[in-house]
């Protein structure tokens, strides 16, 4: 009973337009989806909020749609729904793997994918797979929709491209024949843990040549990142352990980790190298 959060106004709009109007008209208002980040922040006073706008009743923000060329995931879709979706496991296995290691069943039944992205924690676990898939984010505002690639979405430590009065509407991923993938999350314990480093790799291979590859990490920089230079080392090349090792070394150069309660900057740098080596080797099938 000592954990009651300060009194706030509460709205539960049915449409996106309504939500945007509320957001614009009420000073100090904030979107709440699952509340698994926001309520903790309110409790610890990291977030000061006067009104909560609950988006869980906005139908168009929820659900997973297989639209042929694309897969669309509503921003307010629960992580557990994504985990249990066939569309996702068939087409976006990296995302599934990442979500499987997130929180607990109870948390995943509250938490949403949009909330994970909008909190923009450096440790956000849905970010590396979405970065690897080069997902596009549809953002709704009073003047309509705009699309931002996920690689441009995180603008700084806990900062996003979402502007005043805007709401993340959906995540769109183009289907593609990424045949190889691998995901590793390292945390302080086996489950129910925030990452120290996580690495997502997805690749297209033909005749032992890396046609295309994407490497993304979290917890090693102020935002989740793509390791572009490491990708460059491999793209268009024949798979060879030497190259994989070189790429992994490049990753260590692209990260800028910090010391925090979970680990040290030194260890994170070491792990961004080692775990990239590990995930690349698995994805590309070399040892």
């Amino acid at each position: 009973m000592y954990y009651s959060i300060p009194k706030v106004e509460y709205y539960r709009p049915k449409t996106l337009e309504e939500a945007i109007e509320l957001l614009l008209n009420i000073e100090g208002s904030k979107i709440v989806a699952g509340g698994t980040d926001l309520l903790v922040d309110i409790k610890t006073s990291r977030a000061k909020v006067r009104a909560l706008i609950d988006i869980n009743s906005i139908a168009e923000l929820r659900g997973i749609v297989d639209a042929g060329e694309f897969i669309r995931i509503g921003a307010a879709t629960k992580l557990q729904e994504i985990l249990e979706s066939h569309t996702i496991s068939e087409n976006l296995p990296l995302l599934r793997a990442a979500i499987e290691s997130m929180g607990s069943w109870q948390i995943r039944n509250l938490a949403t994918i949009g909330g994970n992205l909008c909190t923009a924690s450096p440790a956000a676990d849905t970010a590396p797979p979405l970065l690897a898939y080069d997902a596009e984010l549809t953002i709704a505002g009073r003047s309509g929709l705009r699309v931002v690639p996920v690689s441009k979405f995180f603008t700084g430590y806990r900062k996003t491209a979402i502007g005043y009065g805007e709401i993340l509407k959906e995540i769109v991923v183009r289907k593609s024949n990424w045949t190889k993938w691998s995901y590793v999350k390292l945390g302080r314990r086996g489950g129910f843990t925030l990452s120290i480093v996580a690495v997502a790799v997805t690749a297209k291979i033909s005749n032992s040549v890396v046609e295309d590859i994407r490497i993304a990490l979290n917890s090693v920089a102020p935002t989740p990142i793509r390791a572009y230079r490491a990708e460059e080392v491999l793209r268009g090349k024949k798979i060879e352990m030497k190259l994989v090792e070189e790429a992994a070394r490049f990753v260590a150069g692209e990260v800028s980790p910090i010391d925090d309660i979970r680990s040290t900057s030194w260890y994170r740098r070491e792990m961004s190298h080692r775990l990239t080596l590990d995930t690349l080797s698995r994805a590309l099938g070399v040892e």
Partner: protein
């Protein structure tokens, strides 16, 4: 009629067949707890009660000039702010040394020290009001390092003492110089262990309800109701008999609520005393983690010598405990660590020095194992290194030196019986496939994932140390319908002794139906039973219950013998069936009705004062404990040399803890302690900032193990080495499996990597750098 406790204890000690004892009876409270029906402190809160929180110091070391709060009282929802000035009795609550105020007075000695009790109408009000208490101070330089604090005279945590060393211990046995000169190998190392947070499900809380004439009832998270009673009475300046303490169901203790329980009760009582209304004082998780004492953080220098044939010749040990701002139970913890520092081995020559040192950190306190996990970590690492140098198998070297009946401990105490660890370890070696696995892992020490297997042994003295008085006490009375009310001060903190093993004991001794027994636990309405700590709930704690039940049994037997004119031997009472000779049969209920009608006294107290010997503090020699519980575990680990991640795969325990009253209950204690020990060893780490604040004061940042980390835990091996004074020969179990875990995991990891681990915790980054050292 037999009323002599020793004779009663003896009668059941030699019993050979049992009805209830030794059976895995299901815990009576388990289903209802899972359904959320058990009531914990906060559940007793009612509309209209006041609420309170503590204002904490936000500086590690300072002289207090003024505590200002008048501005807060302008808010009509704030009822009162209480500081040391408002304490009608004594502001002194140190358990071992009178060094600790209930509320900071004159000085602040750690970040998080309670300064004021803020009482208000609702949680929101007190939550913001506690932030507004202004502490006007002159800051002082703070000490965080125990080795440094030992040397400093210019910065003193407690000026009056003239030193930062709060307490010293020593053992002088034989002659270590000559001992080391006889040694063929000598091993010397410095070991470091860290704090641990109890992280119990339920943080501390107390609900104080005032009554007429300053009488007061406090419902509290507490492990020793009668100690709470004493402290509340002292703080309020009222007689103990005016204070009633009730410990309802408690969401975990592990020692933390032994230290903090009486203090949270006293702070709540202070508020209720002044406001004359019920007040609930509650610690948030963050408050709990900032305020309450933690497991000892230690630096242990350890030197041991042994001959070619594997016999220990001498040990020389220096133990430094960082006791933080207050001694709390630090001196007792250090004392226990010192007297157990050899491990359960015969050591002819020993020189041990212990120092309990003040720093400006959260105090050191009671935690499962009480000084023993850290010192066994050091002792057992030494044994492994001696074995390696001498070319012995680690288990063989241990067996050579192991205490057996008639062996002498390092305090020179002769243990005549109840020493089953030799047999337990031997069995463990064969049942765990120790030798085969040990060799197998050694031969495959390559590649990314490496496995290792390690052994560790632990021992733990039962009861309080030295000649410190210890007793057991209980009161039983039988109602006219044959139901049995048992009053004990032992509390239910999740271990289940009052809810299961105590009932088994009573049903066994009285021969009454199990369901007729009600244990009224955790209350000062019972006689002072001592604390629910030191693994004593079912061992020492239940002796009183056995004695009281034994008295009533004997009265009933005498009555029946006389009434039916038979010999006492012809009377059988079990599971509610009473058989007298070959003619008379009756139900337990009928017997009780008859006894009531014929004037048999069916109320009895059971009291037993543990016989102890003398101890010479000057040389640390003499009687240390009435008996010891023993344990050995074998642990297997797998380390990922890529990341430094250690997984404990399997743990195999073997215990010599006397009679096992309820195997299922023992199993839950063993499993819980293994997982708690694993968490401590691998991931739990309190981080203290430069200004002395615990940064990770929540369970997001301070991680404890989950079911993911839980290893395979093999069925425990039991060697029932009965203790003559324990009920049915039972010894303590609760702490045991924690004690060898740090050592076992560290030894297994050392085995996997081929290098020696000397420092805990074995976090990813630490193990990763070790693996890099080992591959160099």
């Amino acid at each position: 009629m037999v009323e002599d406790p020793e004779i009663i204890i003896r009668r059941w000690f030699v019993a050979e067949s049992f009805i209830a004892v030794g059976k895995s009876l299901e815990r009576v409270d388990s289903i209802e707890k899972v359904l959320g029906r058990a009531r914990f402190v906060e559940d007793f809160f009612e509309e209209g009660f006041l609420v309170a929180r503590l204002a904490l110091a936000r500086i590690p070391h300072a002289r207090i000039r003024k505590i200002s709060y008048d501005h807060i009282l302008k808010n009509p929802k704030v009822h009162q702010v209480l500081t040391y000035r408002d304490i009608p009795g004594e502001n002194q609550v140190g358990y071992a040394i009178p060094d600790q105020p209930l509320l900071a007075e004159r000085k602040v000695r750690y970040y998080g020290e309670p300064v004021a009790v803020v009482v208000g109408r609702d949680p929101d009000t007190v939550n913001s009001a506690v932030e507004e208490v202004v502490l006007d101070v002159d800051p002082l330089p703070a000490l965080y390092n125990s080795l440094e604090a030992m040397e400093r005279q210019d910065i003193l945590v407690h000026e009056a003492l003239g030193t930062n060393i709060a307490f010293k211990t020593r053992v002088r046995k034989g002659d270590v110089d000559s001992g080391f000169s006889k040694a063929d190998v000598v091993v010397e190392n410095t070991y470091r262990t860290h704090h641990q947070e109890h992280a119990y499900l339920e943080p501390e809380a107390a609900l104080a309800i005032p009554d007429l004439e300053n009488r007061i009832t406090v419902i509290a998270t507490i492990q020793y109701p009668h100690l709470g009673q004493k402290i509340v009475a002292k703080v309020l300046g009222i007689p103990s008999s005016y204070v009633k303490i009730v410990a309802p169901y408690i969401g975990g203790g592990f020692g933390g609520k032994d230290d903090e329980g009486p203090l949270v009760a006293a702070r709540a009582a202070l508020a209720a005393y002044h406001l004359r209304r019920p007040v609930l004082l509650y610690y948030t998780r963050e408050d709990s983690m900032q305020i309450h004492p933690k497991r000892e953080a230690t630096v242990i220098r350890y030197k041991s010598g042994a001959t070619q044939d594997g016999k220990l010749t001498a040990i020389e040990v220096t133990i430094v405990h960082d006791t933080g701002a207050y001694a709390n139970r630090g001196p007792f913890i250090l004392w226990r660590a010192t007297m157990h520092s050899s491990g359960p081995y015969y050591v002819p020559n020993a020189k041990i020095d212990g120092y309990c040192v003040y720093t400006n950190k959260v105090p050191q306190g009671s935690f499962r194992g009480f000084g023993n996990p850290s010192v066994q970590f050091a002792a057992e690492a030494q044994m492994d290194q001696l074995a390696e140098k001498l070319g012995f198998d680690p288990i063989d070297l241990r067996l050579i030196n192991m205490l057996r009946p008639s062996s002498e401990t390092i305090t020179g105490q002769m243990l005549m019986s109840s020493v089953g660890i030799y047999d337990a370890l031997k069995k463990l070696a064969s049942e765990s496939n120790w030798r085969i696995k040990r060799r197998m892992y050694e031969e495959s020490r390559a590649g990314r994932f490496r496995r290792g297997i390690g052994v560790a042994v632990g021992w733990h003295g039962n009861s309080t140390s030295r000649a410190v008085p210890d007793w057991s006490n209980s009161y039983i009375h039988i109602s006219r319908d044959g139901s049995v009310s048992v009053y004990t001060g032992i509390v239910e903190i999740g271990q289940g002794s009052p809810s299961s093993s105590h009932r088994q004991l009573v049903a066994e001794v009285l021969g009454c139906p199990f369901e007729k027994v009600n244990i009224v636990f955790g209350t000062t309405d019972a006689p002072d039973t001592g604390a629910t700590h030191a693994s004593r709930g079912t061992s020492v704690g239940a002796i009183g219950i056995l004695v009281a039940a034994g008295k009533i049994r004997s009265r009933l037997e005498s009555f029946l013998a006389e009434y039916f004119n038979v010999q006492k031997e012809e009377i059988k009472m079990s599971s509610g069936e009473v058989v007298v000779g070959d003619k008379v049969k009756m139900k337990w209920e009928e017997l009780i009705a008859l006894a009531y009608s014929k004037g048999v006294d069916l109320s009895a107290t059971g009291y037993f004062f543990l016989p102890k010997g003398v101890f010479n503090d000057e040389v640390g020699q003499g009687f240390a404990y009435p008996a010891f519980s023993f344990i050995a575990v074998v642990a297997e680990v797998e380390v990922d040399t890529f990341t430094g991640k250690v997984r404990v795969l399997e743990v195999h325990p073997a215990l010599a803890v006397g009679k096992v009253i309820n195997p299922e209950a023992v199993k839950t204690q063993v499993e819980g302690a293994i997982v708690q020990g694993l968490g401590y060893t691998l991931m739990e780490k309190l981080v203290i900032s430069e200004d002395g604040r615990i940064i990770n004061d929540n369970l997001t940042d301070y991680v404890i193990p989950t079911s993911h980390e839980t290893p395979v835990i093999r069925e425990a091996i039991f060697v029932e080495d009965l203790w003559e004074y324990g009920p049915f020969g039972a010894k303590g179990v609760g702490e045991m499996a924690f004690i060898p875990m740090p050592a076992a995991i560290a030894n297994a990891l050392s085995h996997a990597l081929g290098i020696r681990v000397t420092e805990l915790p074995l976090t990813l980054d630490k193990v990763y750098s070790l693996t890099r050292d080992s591959s160099r």
